[in-house]
């Protein structure tokens, strides 16, 4: 079983409330650049937004040279800061751009499926799922 944050991108309006809610929930910081999910669009020929969430695919864990991204029992990958050497290989490896690097933090961070973002989406794009 793997728990993950699912996004129905077809309904997204790109407002970034989810991103800000995430930063507030995880760091208590009013700074949406610290959000662990990222809505993107391709203007001006836009067909809609694509919400990049962590699918818990585990590529970051595979690429980590020091084994600092273990998988929890619920299938969620988490960064172990005590082992992380801040090489940021995981950030480059993430296919969805949701292993986040921020200048105010020494280590990268990612979604741990806490669900704090979910109620702030006006369009009910987000849900915590298992597969």
């Amino acid at each position: 079983m793997v728990k993950w944050l699912k996004a129905d991108s077809s309904k997204c309006v790109g407002c970034n409330a989810c991103r800000l809610a995430c930063a507030l929930a995880k760091f208590g910081d009013n700074n949406h650049k610290k959000g662990r999910l990222v809505p993107r669009a391709n203007f001006p020929e836009s067909k809609g937004y694509k919400v990049n969430t962590c699918t818990q695919c585990g590529i970051c864990a595979q690429k980590c040279p020091v084994g600092a991204i273990p998988q929890r029992e619920d299938g969620v990958y988490v960064v172990d800061e005590s082992k992380c050497i801040s090489c940021f290989i995981c950030v480059d490896a993430c296919p969805f751009g949701v292993m986040i690097r921020h200048p105010e933090h020494k280590h990268p961070f990612k979604c741990d499926v806490c669900g704090a973002c979910v109620p702030f989406c006006g369009q009910d794009v987000l849900s915590v799922n298992t597969r």
Partner: protein
């Protein structure tokens, strides 16, 4: 620590290249909040008397506010302010999108742009790194193209303000564009950019904004989002956005049609919200932290070519639809696309085009003036032809680029009577032949005729449309404080107007955010302070007085009678309006000539501006 604010103001002088970072004044924050309030205060304080709005001595104020970028429903508003080339008054225009939060994260509450660059430039802001960079490669290009190129060159995370050819060519109603379809449209802010050789501002920020009471803010955020989402109007507003209003304005006879000669357009069902959603909508688009996503991103075909545009919003449907009588949503979208990309305000643009067509009909503009081109109602070719002539100031376009007030002065005849403006700013989307409260709102609006400051039309419809009672003056005054309050906090008012969020929440949120115990009444007082200061600026600069607070002549004469128009033949009563205006002044603490009294200015803590 100034909680809720980035804490600094960035000042850039384009003449000298000097860039400085100043602390945000806590007293200014307390008295003027941010956004529109900062713009009004800074311009009142710093502009020399009588400066040319398009000269290097004018200043641009680009301002976010304390709520901007916080987790409140719709905290993405941003203000662009300067002395307006359209009116000579303080002009501020708000724009949604994402640039306000981005600027705060870069570490600045506002940017003050001074001087004039010797060649085309853009302003690059990335946290501490601030540079004035050459913009030769972007100059001359249309809005979407410039924004796309900037994002390609700098990175997707950059938020940009850009101008189009109309701004470069100093058209008096040129706008500033952001986020591929959001515009600071009113009062000619694009021309002020252009006059400074400033093609764009690109911002990226990563810093954290300090919050006083994080726990309380989060509790309030949860409550506010839950309330907005649970509101019964939420699904409909989310689906249609502002286009939702089109049916209603036609049903009650206030939809600007044929240069405001009446309030009903027989083809409105071809350009309403249903037409938009069923025929051209691609997806919804939200500004920062907006649960509704009222922006409509659309796609349409024109002569075999596919184009994309954000909108049309109601105001564009009204002014580029009904007012020029375009009778298909595709044509309105096309007009929206052309004006947006040239960098023209669709509200003033629709007015100017309609005015030109009426002048042509009446022989005040002739084929000789147009090089043989026939200006016609309901004709997208006419709209496109005029828009391009205006943006590039070619032929008759050079005169029309000045706006309807100046164009009427030159064209003469009786054109002044159907030049639909107040104080030089063209009227937005509500025909007020039979709406005295809205007429008063337009006529007394601080920046010229704009609905943004007081959407009083609903009050006319809900009460007695023939009445000119004290309550209407009171309603206008309340709205003229409540709505700009949102522009000062930098939150979109539509969470209140459309989905019923109690505005008192913002006082509670401000208290938790800043640590300063704000009440709703105090926030309204801040807005009243800004209102009076803007008025003082107008009095000092232009001798603004009672004569300037009247709606155009056309609304005092019977409107066209057409089948379906419930307002057929209706018009304003001059004597009653006159009385209503006196009531308005009295209730504001202004004298009979519309001057704030010294007592009122002292009450508002504006002693430093008393002369």
């Amino acid at each position: 620590m100034l909680y809720g604010y980035a804490g600094r103001i960035l000042r850039v002088n384009l003449s000298t290249g000097v860039i400085s970072k100043e602390p945000t004044c806590p007293e200014m924050a307390r008295k003027f909040l941010g956004g529109h309030g900062f713009a009004v205060y800074i311009l009142s304080k710093e502009l020399k008397r009588g400066v040319d709005p398009l000269g290097p001595e004018n200043k641009l104020v680009l301002a976010s506010g304390p709520i901007s970028g916080t987790l409140t429903p719709c905290s993405g508003k941003f203000t662009v302010g300067a002395k307006s080339p359209a009116t000579g008054l303080i002009g501020t225009s708000n724009v949604g999108g994402h640039i306000g939060p981005e600027l705060k994260l870069a570490g600045y509450d506002a940017v003050i742009v001074e001087g004039r660059a010797p060649y085309p430039v853009y302003l690059y802001i990335e946290d501490e790194k601030v540079e004035v960079r050459p913009a030769f490669k972007y100059w001359g290009k249309e809005c979407s193209e410039v924004e796309r190129e900037l994002k390609e060159d700098l990175g997707e995370e950059f938020q940009c303000l850009v101008i189009g050819p109309a701004g470069e060519n100093l058209v008096k109603f040129s706008c500033v564009r952001h986020d591929f379809g959001r515009e600071a449209g009113r009062t000619g802010m694009g021309a002020v950019f252009g006059s400074k050789n400033l093609k764009a501002v690109a911002v990226r920020g990563t810093r954290t904004v300090p919050v006083y009471d994080k726990k309380r803010c989060m509790e309030l955020s949860r409550e506010m989002y839950a309330k907005v989402k649970a509101n019964e109007l939420f699904p409909e507003f989310s689906k249609y956005g502002t286009s939702m209003v089109t049916n209603w304005t036609n049903e009650v006879g206030v939809f600007p049609t044929k240069n405001f000669s009446r309030g009903y357009f027989e083809s409105y069902k071809e350009i309403n919200g249903d037409a938009l959603v069923s025929r051209i909508l691609v997806h919804n688009k939200g500004c920062f932290a907006c649960p509704m996503g009222c922006g409509k991103y659309s796609r349409f075909e024109f002569k075999g070519k596919t184009s994309y545009v954000e909108g049309p919003e109601y105001e564009t449907i009204a002014l580029c639809g009904g007012n020029v009588m375009l009778s298909s949503i595709e044509d309105v979208a096309r007009a929206n696309y052309i004006l947006d990309n040239l960098g023209l305000d669709t509200i003033s643009g629709g007015n100017v085009i309609a005015f030109a067509v009426e002048c042509f009909e009446k022989g005040l503009i002739t084929r000789h003036d147009t090089g043989g081109f026939e200006l016609r109602w309901g004709d997208i070719e006419t709209v496109e032809w005029l828009a391009r002539k205006i943006a590039y100031k070619e032929g008759i376009g050079a005169l029309l680029a000045e706006g309807v007030k100046k164009a009427a002065e030159v064209l003469g005849g009786d054109s002044e009577k159907f030049a639909m403006h107040v104080k030089g700013l063209e009227i937005s989307g509500y025909d007020s032949h039979w709406a005295p409260c809205m007429a008063l709102a337009y006529a007394t609006c601080d920046i010229g005729a704009h609905h943004n400051r007081a959407w009083a039309i609903t009050y006319d419809i809900q009460t007695d449309r023939d009445a000119y009672g004290e309550d209407k003056a009171e309603r206008v005054i309340f709205l003229q404080h409540a709505r700009p309050m949102f522009d000062m906090l930098s939150n979109c008012r539509l969470s209140w107007v459309e989905t019923g969020l109690d505005p008192r929440y913002f006082a509670e949120f401000m208290t938790a955010l800043t640590g300063v115990p704000y009440t709703y009444e105090e926030l309204l007082k801040c807005a009243e302070r800004a209102w009076n200061l803007t008025r003082l600026f107008g009095i000092k600069e232009l001798g603004l007085s009672r004569k300037d607070d009247y709606p155009p002549e056309r609304w005092f004469t019977p409107q066209e009678e057409v089948p379906g128009n419930v307002a057929s033949g209706k018009h304003l009563d001059r004597a009653k309006y006159d009385q209503l205006l006196s009531t308005y002044y009295r209730k504001r603490g202004w004298d009979e000539n519309g001057r704030p009294t010294p007592e009122k200015l002292r009450e508002l803590g504006l002693e430093e501006f008393i002369e």
